[in-house]
Symmetry: C2
Subunit: 305 residues, 2 copies
């Protein structure tokens, strides 16, 4: 696949649907070097997922039965939002760990929502059954080319906004976002995967030499808790850097973002920064670093009605 | 005063101390036109006030007794932050309506903080007494040239970031920020003042033909509740547009910013947008509008330790 072309086409397709998200450079994170940040949590429905959802729906014929998605919450909200924006019905399956904020967010889109016991993989099983029974089109959360190409637009956009960094740190769940980064950057910049110690499907796959099942838990599990890394991501991830962060380090990074910059994010949104703050990743003296702030759907919702 | 020169000098002075804040354009605020936004609430200590504080301290000799400031909260936090950054002691007076979030924010800077009963004007009286007794240098919250020039850097920066708008909507308390806008823009773009119905010192002054005392109350009073508009602002505000918004409209705008973009702000930070959402200001068909998101120190603090 010519990923550069796919991502450029996706960027053209989703222009006017996805939000162009702002970027900033911070010297105030308690580190002795600056950090570039892209505030992708300001995207529609609070995460980068809207990019992949719009690209999927705008690049394929959507059946009358509409769309179906399984999600820890963020992808479901994005799929529901994109479907509503384009006039399609949406059926969303989320695990109960999605939590009240994300469930309320999806309900506000008007989607037909089912909350499934257990973890993300269970929601995916139900979504696949619904796809088979209804003929609805599945928008995969991470392991489909249109999803990856959509997420890749985030990095094309960032480069157009003047990204300087040598190295990007990106939180990983199923791997759609980091696959988009790898697919766009093609080695032009270093990409480092950051996963919670308790939800580390990519790290486990890199160690095993193939995708393997992991158990998932922890505070970021509803966003980063994929049981197995996506195959597209794994194929692109050959030899890449991978670090792990603790839940405590993630909470600390949430606090730093809020206190230093009034950036309020969910645990997954702070995970990449946590790798710098905790020392899980230490840049070389002249290495310029950037972190993608990927999700803002915090629970409890501070403005819950 | 040659304000353009003053503001350009201020911008050079505070570079590397103040945060360059990001900008974005939203089509998702429930309006049938786009809105440019500058996310100035991501500034150090959560509001534009850091600009004026740094400019004041960097343009004048600071006495050994350090600095003193009276503040509804945001200016005090900014003055304390700037003082600490530059190695000066700080004494801050806030009224009790500053609230626990802003009081905790100031305490985290290590400043010597006094909480004064009543409204902002009472804190100002005590700060002036402290200035007289100690020889500390007062950083006025809004009615001093160095403060206004510092706040004006926000608009110089925004223009350099590609601001397109014909019209800027800006929330007004004592008038330091909007004075900075008027001083920088010099009529090149329209500026509209937005005040809460219950804290409207500029609106009252424009109607009276001179600054007059008003009573202040309402949800934004700790940020926008000046008893009397600053004289610098009033002199620059000749003939400008002025609109009022209700507390309900402000709360609604806070919800819209959070739900559409995961931008969490205090009431004052949403006031300018509230003028658009409520119809208090309706742009002409081809008029491009921008709102400055000026403050993010919401209470209760969603991540209070």
């Amino acid at each position: 696949m010519n990923w550069k072309n796919e991502i450029s086409a996706a960027a053209g397709r989703i222009a006017g649907y996805a939000q162009v998200t702002p970027v900033m450079e911070s010297h105030s994170l308690g580190l002795d070097y600056p950090v570039e940040m892209k505030l992708e949590h300001l995207q529609h429905t609070g995460s980068f997922k809207a990019r992949g959802a719009f690209n999927t729906l705008l690049s394929q014929d959507v059946p009358k039965a509409g769309v179906v998605a399984a999600s820890g919450g963020n992808h479901g909200a994005a799929a529901a939002y994109a479907a509503r924006s384009l006039g399609h019905p949406a059926k969303i399956f989320v695990p109960e760990i999605a939590g009240p904020s994300k469930i309320a967010l999806i309900k506000r889109t008007g989607a037909d929502l089912s909350v499934v016991p257990g973890e993300y993989a269970n929601a995916l099983t139900e979504a696949q059954a619904h796809e088979d029974a209804s003929g609805a089109m599945q928008i995969h959360a991470y392991d489909a080319p249109a999803t990856v190409a959509g997420q890749g637009t985030c990095f094309a956009e960032w480069e157009a906004q003047g990204l300087q960094a040598d190295t990007l740190l990106i939180a990983v769940g199923g791997g759609g976002l980091i696959a988009g980064a790898l697919a766009w950057l093609q080695g032009a910049r270093k990409v480092v995967a950051v996963e919670p110690e308790t939800s580390c499907a990519l790290n486990a796959a890199l160690h095993a030499g193939e995708p393997v099942d992991v158990t998932v838990s922890g505070i970021a599990a509803n966003a980063l808790g994929a049981r197995r890394i996506g195959s597209i991501c794994f194929d692109l991830a050959n030899g890449m850097g991978s670090v792990l962060v603790s839940d405590d380090a993630i909470v600390q990074a949430q606090q730093v973002l809020w206190r230093a910059h009034r950036i309020l994010v969910e645990p997954a949104g702070a995970a990449a920064l946590a790798a710098l703050l905790s020392g899980a990743y230490t840049p070389a003296p002249d290495e310029r670093v950037a972190v993608l702030i990927c999700g803002g759907n915090i629970s409890p919702d501070p403005l819950a009605a």
